[in-house]
């Protein structure tokens, strides 16, 4: 976290604060956040609802501006990085445009940035192949299952070969079985593209399965409680994360480690009745 920003640094967040003005007063969403994501690295943000995961990711994407501190992406300001299309983004809801076919949805960013139609369709075909939806190019989103929609969204996020992928609970709405499948796909795709990934999730196994490092956050105000490195990724290449991993001992250990980081401070299961984590 103390590395100087460099070509090998994807995201550099330093001393970032974020305060929202609301009708009922100020909400301190983030409090002096420091975080560096290396190029090619897979970092997950985890924490209870309202701890500021999405807010942090939105600052990186320049969808919001920090109240204090600075965010740089590949050495540029967040704004410049957005204008330069340095990142691809995906949200919990796939956010496909319902009136566009699968192919047209994936083509959207290319279209907006004036990529010639020939190049565009080659690239789209390539992307759909990558996410395994080549046969569905002419379907409309409502003709796809939730998992397929999410894959289209991922293809769209990858359209311009970004070196950084921002994902806010992209699998949150999927059922557990589809979710596991998508995780494997994501591991494969991120290995193929070599992009750094900032991944927001609520699910510990998901974070553990996917990440090189898991950032555990705590709410009110949003702070980083702990950054748990995943030994899983240390010795094996990410692409080696297969389904079998999920049933391995090391996996359960990492899950337990993240659980404990999450619950440290508020002893597990003994909170007073009726107190919500959000």
């Amino acid at each position: 976290m103390t590395d100087a920003p460099s070509a090998t640094t994807a995201v550099e967040i330093s001393a970032v604060d974020k305060v929202f003005e609301t009708r009922t007063g100020q909400v301190q969403a983030l409090d002096t956040i420091d975080l560096t994501v290396a190029a090619g690295e897979f970092v997950s943000l985890i924490g209870p609802s309202g701890c500021g995961k999405s807010t942090l990711m939105r600052l990186v994407a320049d969808l919001d501006e920090p109240t204090g501190g600075s965010v740089t992406v590949f050495g540029k300001t967040a704004r410049q990085a957005r204008l330069d299309q340095e990142y691809g983004i995906a949200f919990q809801s796939a956010g496909l445009l319902p009136w566009r076919t699968v192919a047209a949805n994936v083509a959207l960013p290319l279209e907006l940035h004036g990529v010639a139609s020939g190049t565009r369709s080659t690239r789209v075909a390539e992307l759909l192949e990558m996410v395994g939806l080549a046969d569905f190019a002419d379907r409309y989103p409502d003709q796809l299952s939730g998992g397929m929609q999410q894959r289209v969204a991922i293809a769209r996020a990858l359209a311009e070969q970004p070196r950084l992928l921002l994902m806010d609970e992209p699998f949150g709405a999927l059922d557990e079985m589809t979710r596991e499948k998508m995780q494997s796909d994501l591991v494969r795709i991120s290995a193929e593209t070599g992009a750094a990934v900032v991944f927001v999730t609520h699910s510990i196994p998901e974070a553990v399965f996917l990440s090189d490092r898991v950032v555990v956050m705590s709410p009110r105000p949003g702070r980083i409680r702990e950054i748990v490195p995943m030994r899983l990724g240390a010795d094996a290449r990410r692409a080696a994360r297969t389904e079998e991993l999920r049933e391995e001992r090391a996996f359960f250990e990492m899950v337990t480690a993240v659980r404990e980081a999450l619950h440290s401070g508020s002893p597990v299961g003994t909170g007073p009745r009726g107190v919500e984590t959000r």
Binding site: A61, D62, L63, R82, L83, Q85, Y87, I89, F91, S93, A94, G95, L96, L97, P98, W99, L108, P109, E111, L112, H113, Y140, P141, D142, Q143, L144, S145, G146, Q149, A173
Partner: protein
Amino acid sequence: MREDVVTGTANGTVADAAASAPARDLRAPHRAGRGRGRRELARWGWGLAGILAIVLIWEGYKLLGPADGVVIGDARVLPRTTDLAMPHVWDMLTRLAEPVTRSPSAQPLWAVVALGALTTLGIAAVGWLVGVIVGIGLALVMQRWRIAEWGLFPWIVLSQTVPLIAFAPIVKSWGSRVEIGAFEWQDWMSVALIASYLAFFPIAIGALKGLQSPDRIHEELMQTYAAGYWQTLTKLRFPASVPYLLPALRLGAANAVIGAVVAEVSTGLQGGIGRILIQFAGQASGDPAKAWGPIFGAIVLGLVAAGSVALLGVILKNYRRTEEAA
């Protein structure tokens, strides 16, 4: 139909639609076609039955009801059944086929009505177009600047409480001063202008709702693509507004026709159905069935206008994929 727009509450979501997706994939095309055809047929059948029911009620009441209607206290709650007040349905229909007057050059009533209706349709179409331009223009301004929305919206609502009929002569009079180069204001333009005044309201409201309808996530996606205002407008806001805009346009069309007819009456424009309406209403004492010709004409005219816009919906069906099946 007016309300479609103004309520225009969220239609089904992508997620809802996705839930039924597998079934869609399995659909055997010809079967589905036949099923839809049958349903469509049933719809028309019941619709016809509805009209028939009205006819039966009309004639039944005319047969059984007292000539002077049913009066409770001071109010006549059920109508008179005299031929003057309620002509027989068949009289109204056969009257349509007879010539307007005894004059040897007279055309059949239906032809006169149809010609008038067509004229009015043309004027209403121009009014509708103006309404579309103004309505969408206002919606764009209000969508772009919040302050414009706050400043204008109440007045747009207020505009619909203005009894337009009081202004018809003024519109005509002001219009008659307009002369720019070779362009000279025609009286029918005043009528079209008044029609557009009624048409623009639902369109402005519907378009605003539609332009504001994209999900936050879609707006942000465009932001992450560093897409500018126009790109966002053409790629996102306009397509997303289609489900809101279509009912608004339909309502606008119906309003344009109503406005055109009233304005024709009010400004005395010749050639349209409004003029025929008052003309024949004036002859209703001696020829009660005749007055119904233009009334039916006005209804058909309104339905045709609204229906043509519905055709637009067929063309734009891909933009309505999230609409729930009505």
